[in-house]
């Protein structure tokens, strides 16, 4: 690292430029990661945090079941089939409907109603007929308190409790019983046959005969993780943000590779001299890689720190998730990819001919 450090000090401007590019790309990736994660949370947290292993989707009427919350309904018969399946420990119906609710101060808000039996493991305390439990963020946004009455398609429902935040499709979740959920839903689409619920949330043993239950009940079961894409916009949202992140990673590896290629070509004269003086190729490669690592550590570290600072500030107004997964991982991936670019670039040190140092034409 003897030459590496001195080269950086000598060519401060160039390395600062390179470090800034790394820092900015890292900053962008950290912000994007936090945002992706935060948005995903707003989209599916209520589903992801269900205390279940699988969700069971049913088709509407005679239709084939699809993995989509919007199109799924389950019947009492399907519930019975699942309850009688070997290896299935618990089945609880879950009704999901996104709707608008009116508040006492006259404003309206979007919310998603989760209807479930009051004794279901995911039912928050206070879940009861003709009342709703609401997410804290809804309460804060609309200045709602316990006892306030919300106007819904099922009439005025009092807020029985306020609980921690869950979101579904970017709306806060409110909880009530299946019966009240059914009323809400019937009022919306009067006439159609009222189903039991939207999906079944199932807790199954690893060896449970899921596919047998599916064919017996004409349902489609999926793990909770796989069910997230059944929330309308989730896959496309997540997919485009992921693509952006992958592109940024690729760009950074290319930029670093290109910079270091030019730099390595520029200093090939010095490399030839050091080789002629007896420096081994291994020594020179280690030195060059150490140089890249210093720039990457400084750049990605700085960008990551700025990302954390900006992210926590932005967290006040936009959904932004600050975890090791959204900060440390992108920083480490940046450094790793940068080192790949660096390794490809400094590889040409191997082929520098020490004899050229002897020539007069340097």
């Amino acid at each position: 690292m003897f030459v590496a450090i001195r080269d950086i000090r000598f060519a401060k401007g160039r390395f600062a430029l390179m470090g800034s590019v790394v820092a900015l790309i890292t900053l962008l990736i950290v912000l994007l990661s936090g945002l992706t994660s935060g948005l995903a949370d707003r989209s599916v947290s209520a589903v992801r945090n269900l205390p279940a292993t699988h969700l069971v989707f049913g088709g509407a009427g005679d239709e084939q079941p699809e993995k989509s919350f919007a199109d799924s309904t389950v019947t009492p018969r399907q519930r019975a089939v699942w309850e009688n399946t070997a290896g299935v420990r618990r089945v609880s119906p879950l009704g999901i409907t996104t709707t608008r609710v009116g508040t006492p101060n006259g404003s309206e808000a979007s919310a998603t109603v989760f209807g479930l039996p009051p004794d279901a493991p995911s039912a928050p305390t206070g879940t009861s007929d003709s009342a709703v439990v609401i997410s804290r963020s809804l309460a804060e946004e609309q200045r709602l308190h316990t006892g306030d009455r919300l106007s819904t398609t099922a009439g005025e429902l009092p807020v029985s409790a306020i609980t921690s935040d869950e979101f579904y499709s970017h709306t806060p979740v409110i909880w009530t019983t299946l019966d009240t959920w059914r009323e809400l839903r019937t009022a919306r689409s009067a006439g159609a046959e009222t189903p039991l619920a939207t999906v079944l949330s199932v807790e199954a043993e690893p060896d449970a005969r899921l596919s047998e239950a599916d064919s017996a009940a004409n349902t489609l079961s999926a793990t909770v993780g796989d069910s997230l894409e059944a929330v309308g916009s989730f896959s496309s949202e997540n997919g485009s943000l992921l693509t952006m992140r992958l592109l940024l990673y690729a760009i950074s590896a290319l930029v670093i590779g290109a910079f270091l290629t030019v730099w390595t070509i520029q200093r090939s004269g010095d490399v030839a001299v050091l080789k002629a003086l007896g420096g081994s190729t291994g020594y020179l490669l280690r030195d060059a890689l150490a140089q890249s690592l210093i720039v990457l550590l400084a750049g990605a570290g700085l960008g990551g720190a700025a990302g954390v600072a900006l992210g926590s500030a932005a967290g006040e107004v936009v959904p932004f998730e600050l975890t090791a997964r959204t900060t440390l991982v992108p920083v480490l991936v940046m450094i790793a990819l940068g080192m790949v670019g660096a390794a490809l670039a400094v590889r040409r040190i191997t082929s520098v001919e020490p004899l050229t140092a002897l020539g007069a034409g340097r």
Partner: protein
């Protein structure tokens, strides 16, 4: 330890034909001896040094540094040989732009796997020997041509080599400074007991050397 070249031949491919850069070259330089090699441009002077330094493998003959026949060594062993037993002073000063004068010397010690910090005092001392005391913190851009050449020489001496190979050190210097560099080379040759080959086409400086051989079209004479 002496440097001995025996029956060296070196051909470069040149299209259909081959160029005979060196032809049956034999010479011997003893410790503490300064040998001058003169000859016109293209006569094979640099090629001779390259062979002696193990930078080019001769097509015929053998090179001995002390007891070691270097023609049989592989690339890594040749690197180690140059690192520890051969000093090279380049025609261009060939200093690393980002390093100060003392660091130019320290880096060679670092490449030898020794502590650069510990090598510092010795390096400063060596710079003083070549007349650069007080200038050890200057980068090449802030040194004159003659001063750069002195750093170049000091760097070649850092390992206390047995053999010193010097390629036209005065080419970029005026008469006065050139003469001083050759004087310096004679002094360090004596002081360190090193076998020195000085390539030059400048006959002015020959009075300072112990012996002179001339090279024409790859053949030695005189």
């Amino acid at each position: 330890m002496s440097l001995r070249l025996h029956g060296i031949g070196l051909t470069y491919p040149d299209g259909e034909r081959t160029v005979h850069a060196l032809d049956e070259v034999s010479l011997r330089v003893d410790p503490g001896e300064l040998l001058a090699v003169t000859g016109p441009s293209g006569s094979g002077k640099s090629s001779l040094l390259a062979v002696a330094a193990g930078l080019v493998r001769p097509t015929a003959g053998s090179v001995h540094v002390g007891e070691t026949d270097i023609t049989g060594l592989n690339g890594a062993a040749l690197s180690r040989l140059r690192l520890n037993r051969i000093g090279i002073v380049f025609q261009q000063h060939n200093l690393v732009a980002s390093l100060t004068a003392v660091e130019q010397l320290q880096v060679t010690e670092h490449m030898r796997g020794r502590s650069a910090r510990k090598a510092r005092d010795k390096a400063v001392q060596l710079l003083a020997t070549v007349g650069l005391s007080g200038k050890q913190h200057r980068r090449p851009s802030r040194l004159s041509g003659g001063e750069r050449q002195r750093v170049n020489i000091a760097r070649a001496l850092t390992a206390r080599p047995e053999v010193l190979l010097v390629d036209e050190p005065t080419a970029a210097l005026d008469q006065e400074r050139g003469a001083r560099i050759v004087e310096l080379l004679r002094d360090v040759t004596r002081q360190y007991g090193v076998a020195t080959v000085l390539v030059t086409h400048d006959t002015q400086h020959l009075a300072q050397t112990d012996r002179t051989v001339a090279i024409h079209d790859g053949k030695l004479s005189g």
